[in-house]
Assembly symmetry: none
Homo-oligomer: 202 residues x 4
DNA sequence: CTCTAAACGAGACGGTACGTCGAGTCTTCTA
DNA sequence: TAGAAGACTCGACGTACCGTCTCGTTTAGAG
């Protein structure tokens, strides 16, 4: 008679519950609240109410609202890290960027990420966690792929992969965070084309 | 017949003050608070207290905290829009990006802008205003410069200037908003070099 | 703001209007607002909006919200002072009290009067006006009738009519203002019976 | 050896204090404010400031300003209910009324009660509480005394004690709430005399 | 018949109070 | 003893109405 999703207010007894169980419930509630209502409505109070945990417990384990939100995010979304390498760096980059565009534009998780990044601008705690657990690994993956391409002689020797990452993914984040222009597949393709071939004319 | 003159001007009773004067004070206070304490500590209440205006007045003139912050920002910073055109597109872009990097890294205004962009992620009001009054005009300026370069035959015909903007300034915003990597002059130079010459090898 | 059943918000030109016209409009609006919404919702702001007058004009003519309300009351209700004298003091008092009970219980004006009296407890301005224009004249009327009855030998010589008024109308106001017991015709009749015949037993 | 009259604004930590302690402080502050400044200046905000409690706490425990004022009143004044019965109903009523007149005329509590009754005219919450906790018990006491007198044969059989109460105490409240005439000892005596002996002449 | 002073409406302003929300802290109770 | 319950302070929010004051307009009345 267990294993329910608990649509009820998660009323429990007053005493102690196993830490693991509490944690699980909290993360589930945090993730759901975040993906459903967004970061603006994401509140420690609401997470406590939804999870059946007490606020004090949340304060004990998560140093800030941002940290809780990020944990909730990963609990709901999962890592999803992959960077297939076919040997064709142009194709690989384009594929990867198109997947990224799709993720950000068409999924709840993608729509929430800008809000997390936004909140991190005034929350150093979240900023550090976001870099450590989100952006750094993804950046590393791309850098590795670019390094491999360099070794294969597909990229110029003097190119810094870190800069390239900013000119591809950073360009996407730009359109995501400051939406003057739409984030499209064509955009993703143009990014790779521009950068590989250069836009200058001799 | 006591027509007393009462030359003191500090007789600010309860009644109305000229709207312009109040506005000026408010914007000054808002700008100062924003640049001094940052967006996290930026509060309508504090702006009211600092400016001597009442909260109601602020609510009447500014629809949201974000709108007030942005107005305060521009009041303190000024427009500062310029894009010198020397005919050498590479040099112009590099100069412009280096100035941008300097602004964002070394000035209070630059340090605040990411916070405004961050807040805009959960404040549609501010998001719209930011696009309209900040990012769009700046983007337009860069696009125009690139168009001119295209007409002069310095850029490939099939290049979309809008995409280029994201690959230059967007890359900088990326490092600003998700600071995995530092924002340096070398970075600015590499951006232009990569993009103009291309990073691929035949 | 408040969308009354008034078809238009009484939009006029901006300049000076005849004082009499303004006064008339204001009193009409005040009376209607008072009888419709009660004293709790009676606001100078609303009267101004409903009447098309500016708040400053109201402040100029009426020293307090209570004064305005009372003027509005009389404008809507009228004086309605009468104390028929048939020679039969018992019948006259009973008739008068029954009319009073009916007025207070079954009309909007009656339902508002307790609120005015209530407000007067913390508004000396209104308290004085209420005595002067409402209670004193009514009390005087009753006292006169009782004096006449005394002269006709219908009442004991040593009876103070002022006290009798409190034991008749005052008793009604008591049930009106502190409604532990209902205000009924039977009550009105019992008041007169008790007082004329006495309740003691030799 | 403290005798400190609390000059400090009751600075406490941020966490929880025992509810009982807070309640006590609040009631003390409410009672004092009410008796000192009267109902017109009685404000939830001021009670909070005086008691060192936060407004939120007051809103949690008291549904309205009226309810808080009444609780403060009883906390400061105490119940003080008594109706001595000597067997001489005339003397007992007179004594009781004189005591009431004295209370209302010469004490801070008495001067506040009309304001509470006044506020109750537009605050159903307070109206109910006032009836329940103030007027009804006092009325019941008087009714019981009158019933006893009836049983002893001192009053006519057909007299309704409830009506008598309105013709004695109600008359006093009348002079209290609509002060056309003064509230004096002579008045109190005349009330009993009139009613017991009757004012009519055969 | 014109000119001016008074009165008006519009509405912004500072201020007090309201009632609410969320954050973070603290105490007491329970499993 | 960890967790839950829940009450508390604090800061901020957005709103209502108050009484005051400025501004521009209109009209009545003086010249």
């Amino acid at each position: 008679m267990v294993t329910q999703q608990a649509p009820e207010p998660a009323r429990r007894g007053r005493g102690r519950r196993p830490a693991a169980e509490v944690r699980r419930e909290v993360l589930r509630a945090a993730g759901e609240l975040l993906l459903t209502e967004g970061m603006a409505a994401f509140t420690i109070e609401k997470v406590a109410a939804l999870s059946g945990a007490s606020r004090v417990t949340l304060y004990k384990w998560w140093p800030s609202k941002g940290a809780l939100a990020l944990d909730g995010y990963f609990d709901a979304v999962g890592p999803t890290l992959a960077f297939p390498d076919t040997g064709d760096i142009a194709a690989d980059l384009t594929a990867q960027l198109r997947a990224f565009v799709h993720l950000m534009r068409d999924t709840r998780a993608g729509r929430v990420m800008p809000e997390l990044i936004g909140h991190a601008q005034t929350d150093p705690e979240l900023s550090a966690l976001l870099r450590e657990r989100y952006s750094a690994p993804r950046r590393a993956l791309a850098v590795e792929a670019l390094e491999r391409a360099k070794e294969r002689g597909r990229l110029r020797e003097d190119v810094d992969p870190e800069v390239v990452v900013d000119q591809l993914w950073g360009a996407c984040y730009h359109r995501l965070l400051i939406p003057d222009q739409p984030l499209t597949d064509e955009f993703a393709e143009a990014l790779v084309r521009n950068l590989l071939a250069g836009i200058g004319r001799p």
